[in-house]
Amino acid sequence: MSVATALPGRLTFGPIRPRSRRRELGLLVLVAVALVVGSVSLGATRALAEGSASFAPWDPARLVVYLAALGMAHVAQVLAGRRTDQVLLPAVGLLGGLGLLLMERLPQDLAGSAFGDSLGLAGVQLVWLVIAITVIAVLSIVVRSDTWLRRYKYTWATAGIGLLLLTFVLGEEANGALLTIRLGPFSGQPTELLKVILVVFLAGYLSEFRPLLISESTRLGPLRLPPLPYLLPMIVMWALAFGIVVIQRDLGAALLFFAVFLALVYVATSRVSYVVIGLILLVLGGIAAYHLFDHVRVRVDIWLDPFADPSGDGYQVVQALIAFARGGLLGTGLGGGLPLVGGRLPIPAIHTDFPLAALGEELGLIGIMAILGVYLVIIERGLRIAAAAADDFRALLAAGLALVVGVQAFIIAAGNLKLIPLTGITLPFISYGGSSLLANAVVVGLLLALSDRGVEPPPPPSRSRGRFDRLLRRSTS
């Protein structure tokens, strides 16, 4: 008698059979061909700039390592035989590859850390990309149950707040924002991880209280509100975002967290009044922050008129706009943009905050549209996974994970294009940086795991909502 049958109540899985993933393989082949051609384009342009004619790909070894990592992730998923999504990995693979090509052509001393000096910008990025792909593959294969996420939502929330406080206390200042925690030779940006924790907590919280948030009881003019106690999380969330702006001076993270929160509340309740209240709070908070804090006012003033101080505060934004303009429709070609101005880069934060400006210059409007299209594809897959989910928690979790990537890409892309004030967050999967790549890899890995339906039934809900139901009954009768 086997162990599995001897233990009643223990979940048993059937034998693991490889399952072919033809669509994923096909799309990965397209990604590989595109990246090889991009590498050849980069190599030829750089060779021409040095006065020789050569069509050897630029730095083929790194590209081969990267493509091999993607291939291994594909093979691992085939062998695991789960029915997970087949579009997400190629989409992420293309974005990561574009980021790698970009890092290869930037000055390698931008990395600026102990490892960065020996490996160079592209070397460090390649290491993190391989780790990120490994994380995606492992999560998508190993995670068969979401119990560990849904049961411990308050533990996750506590961990998140702890991480935030740690950043407040130990954070180091970079570009006027407290973002980085340094531990020996390692440094990381906890806000990247925090966004994943936030989505897990919100999915757990909103799925538990969804029926109550939907029931209406308070009327305020034309707005129908839920029982007032349930507005509290919205206030807390708003205060949290405001606190990040004030203490951490990280406008991007605050905007991202609040936008994802509003989007998830809307997904959970399909009620516009919450979104209206949230937007009003956001505008009021924004106006207050503009008048109270210098770092906010500077950002907004730059956004309104970057040319007021083109060589000082407005320098990066002006240079980004010039880069987009230089790119035009088809771009200058990979490797063809960004001549050094007076021995330095025109945009100092090109590898973290402005990769879209660099890609806009080298690939043009056509290329930018394709990149934004890939982000749309990732959002679409996430929302499809959410729509197919069997219960509220999985639906909200999948929607939240997809939206956190989508909203982050929107905020930084719009900031680069001067559509909204610039806030320093990364462009998911393209920007340089381990924290960003890892956090987004966790997001995609979880989405892949969630896309496999019916592996393990969700656990029975443990808590009763008895006391809240009494409140609800009082309000409806």
Partner: protein, 145 residues
Amino acid sequence: MDPTIATIWVVRVLFLALLYVFLFGVARVLLRDLRSAAREPVTALGRLRVVASEVDEPSSGTVFPLDAVATLGRDVNNTIVVDDPFASTEHAVLSFRGRAWYLEDLGSTNGTFLNGSPVDGLAAVAFGDELQVGRVRFRLERVGG
């Protein structure tokens, strides 16, 4: 025109074209998924899956697609017949009102339970919640779109 520069230009444009070839490939996969989803139109507002049952009707694993109102009980005129001596003839009603599901106990002898606690009057039900009528436990599930 210098052939080298012309070739580089062709490679550049080819790279951009390949990005769109990839997007086209993705779009084909997405369209196929949407079509296969549209072939099974979603008419039910949710479904009730029997997660544990000590009787034959309904047996464990049965799935009931739900309309806006579903009654549960031992009587054969109920939407979902629970053929269990511990269930009342008209035991409980599950209804979709506006945006959410509600469970109401119809004065049953042994009570209706939501996530293990007795339902007293009207209770809001979330997808993923478990309800118990007699010795049969159900789980309310979303119907994927």
